[in-house]
């Protein structure tokens, strides 16, 4: 067969780096997250008032130079409580989905790749976990192990495992059928290699986007649990417990509930925005597979 061999000096095109406009909202979200994190981390060295010191003469004080955001129903400085509350909310909000991401992600990856009995077992136990009422579980753990931040993180993280497992397994199932996995096997790759080098980088993108949404959800759930009195133990502040305490004086000083609610709302929104933008950034490449 005669072939026309075209050996033109091919120009090597540099990969076109498309400048994506991330938009004002994205940068706003990033700024907010950075500020909240900085404040939460630096809280002990900032010139803040003690968040648990009560001043019974200054209950529900209005904004002043002494108390920038006023005081709460027990005369504690609202700004200090908001910032120390951010520490709790962010610790729980980040650590709990991290537990879900690691355990659930690993289980889903293994189940989606190996299939068979192991998958049945994993999916079955996750269904059991999903069917179990989460509030009862939280109550039981708190009753037995006591009310503390590590326990709260554990409860929320554990409850998040099934969702992460499902996302990870669904992604793995479609990917494990792809030819590049068979190609890797044909090149003599071990199971561990295929899982860690071929599948994990592919599965990680959707998992990470889900993780950011998980952070947002967990902050809200932690708030609800604290509101119900299942969260952090009382003198300590968290946004949820502050809203709960603010409820008592909603008619006299609605700001006590609205300030932490606003902080939570903007933080959750910021995480959602960043998560969505990151997902959108990685999506076109997913589509081009």
């Amino acid at each position: 067969m005669a072939t026309l061999e075209l050996s033109l000096p091919e120009e090597v095109e540099q990969p076109l780096q498309k400048k994506r406009r991330l938009g004002f909202l994205f940068w706003f979200a990033i700024c907010w997250i950075v500020i909240i994190f900085a404040l939460a981390i630096l809280a002990p060295i900032l010139p803040l008032q003690n968040p648990v010191d009560m001043d019974m003469l200054e209950r529900r004080a209005w904004f002043s130079t002494e108390h920038w955001l006023g005081t709460d129903g027990l005369g504690r400085d609202e700004l200090a409580r908001l910032i120390f509350g951010a520490r709790v909310s962010l610790t729980v909000g980040l650590c709990a989905p991290l537990i879900g991401l690691t355990v659930g992600g690993a289980l889903g990856l293994l189940a989606g790749y190996f299939r068979g009995r192991f998958e049945t077992l994993v999916v079955g136990s996750m269904d059991v976990l999903l069917a179990f009422p989460p509030l009862i579980f939280a109550l039981a753990v708190v009753a037995y192990l006591g009310q503390s931040i590590p326990n709260l993180t554990f409860i929320l993280g554990f409850l998040g495992i099934p969702a992460f497992m499902r996302v990870s397994r669904a992604a793995t199932l479609t990917l494990a059928r792809r030819e590049f996995v068979i190609a890797a096997e044909a090149l003599g790759a071990t199971h561990a290699r295929i899982l860690l080098r071929e599948l994990l980088p592919n599965v990680f993108l959707p998992l990470f986007a889900f993780f950011l949404l998980g952070v947002a959800v967990t902050i809200v759930v932690e708030g609800s649990l604290s509101f119900l009195g299942l969260g952090v133990p009382p003198p300590m502040a968290s946004w949820g417990s502050m809203i709960g305490e603010g409820r008592e004086s909603l008619e006299v000083a609605p700001r006590l509930a609205f300030l932490p609610a606003f902080a939570m709302f903007v933080t959750v929104l910021a995480f959602n925005l960043v998560g969505d933008t990151l997902r959108a950034l990685t999506d076109p490449r997913q589509g081009a597979l």
Binding site: T3, L4, R115, A186
Partner: protein, 330 residues
């Protein structure tokens, strides 16, 4: 079978399906010597890919394989998973049909090439990189250094197939299985890729199995051709002998279905009428009989075995072989 690098003996693959057992490959015997090319031709679903997966032991988990796959004196079907794993990549390599899916989309080309090299040849990163660049140059990729940092989606289809070939060649395999390597590519690229494969094969003295549905592809490039139909090899011959004188009506029909330049425009193509038999319902006679224009009584009752023709190395499975001085339209 001392001289053969690969010798497949009575290989059959059965896949359990909800409609019953599907016999994808039916008692296939093939041999291949080092440095030679075997073309496997057949239409979609005739078991070509399953045969290649059977050689590589990459069959779906539920598939049942019987027979022997002897590669360099070892039966691959009875090998420990660990020794099989070491053999794959180093001695056995494969190029898949679709380069869009056979490369990992989220790893750079450099990572994919270098990891394979480092894994099998135990080279350090610098040496692996040097070797990757050599390989990419060998498969005709301009500016290989820049390519190493790119992702598969930044390369064209032909480029990706060249990269897949480079990965397959990275450890100097003794046998390369090319499973329809040009089907997903543009016609203009096809010849380039096939020439590249032929060139690298000669240079490295490796054996190659070229799987395709296009008789034209194997015509100039394979030393021997095996025509498959419904899981069986129905004709096997050295390439010149096959095109000079084919015996099996199916081979003839396949060749007749290739469009020719000299025919007038709008001439209907002589397509093969009917459909391949349902592989879950085996027919008692020759599986091509329902579509064959030479089929007579005996064809519907008994399966013809492979029998030798006058030319050495030419085998066919037919009761009524074509006895013509020259092949149709060859």
């Amino acid at each position: 079978m001392s001289g053969a690098l690969l010798s497949i003996q009575d290989v059959a693959v059965e896949l359990p399906t909800p409609r019953g057992n599907l016999r994808a490959v039916d008692r296939v015997n093939l041999t291949l010597e080092a440095g030679r090319t075997l073309g496997v031709v057949g239409e979609s679903g005739c078991g070509k890919t399953m045969l290649s997966r059977a050689i590589l032991q990459l069959l779906p988990k539920k598939a049942r394989l019987s027979g022997r796959v002897m590669f360099a004196g070892q039966d691959l079907a009875r090998l420990e998973p660990e020794s099989l794993r070491k053999l794959r990549g180093r001695d056995l390599a494969v190029v898949f049909q679709d380069p869009m899916t056979s490369l990992n989309p989220v790893l750079t080309i450099g990572t994919q090439l270098m990891e394979t090299i480092q894994e099998h040849l135990e080279l350090d990163a610098a040496a692996a990189k040097k070797r990757s660049i050599e390989l990419l140059t060998a498969v005709g990729i301009p500016a290989p250094e820049q390519r190493l940092t790119q992702y598969p989606h930044q390369c064209s289809g032909g480029m990706r197939q060249r990269i897949a070939i480079a990965i397959a060649l990275s450890c100097e395999p003794k046998l390369l299985i090319a499973d329809e390597p040009t089907t997903a590519l543009d016609v203009t690229i096809q010849a380039q890729i096939l020439d590249l494969l032929a060139r690298e094969q000669r240079r490295r003295h490796m054996a190659m199995i070229l799987i395709t549905h296009d008789l034209g592809v194997v015509a100039g490039r394979a030393d021997e051709v095996a025509v498959m139909y419904a899981g069986r090899v129905v004709e096997r011959a050295p390439t010149p002998a096959l095109f000079k004188r084919m015996h099996m009506p199916y081979t003839e029909a396949l060749l007749a279905a290739i469009p020719k330049l000299e025919t007038a425009p709008h001439t209907p193509l002589p397509a093969i009428s009917g459909r391949p038999p349902d592989p879950t319902r085996p027919v008692p006679g020759c599986s091509f009989a329902p579509r064959c224009r030479y089929a007579a009584g005996r064809c519907h009752q008994a399966k013809p075995d492979l029998s030798a023709a006058e030319t050495a190395g030419h085998f066919y499975a037919c009761f009524h072989p074509i006895r013509m001085a020259e092949g149709i339209g060859a």
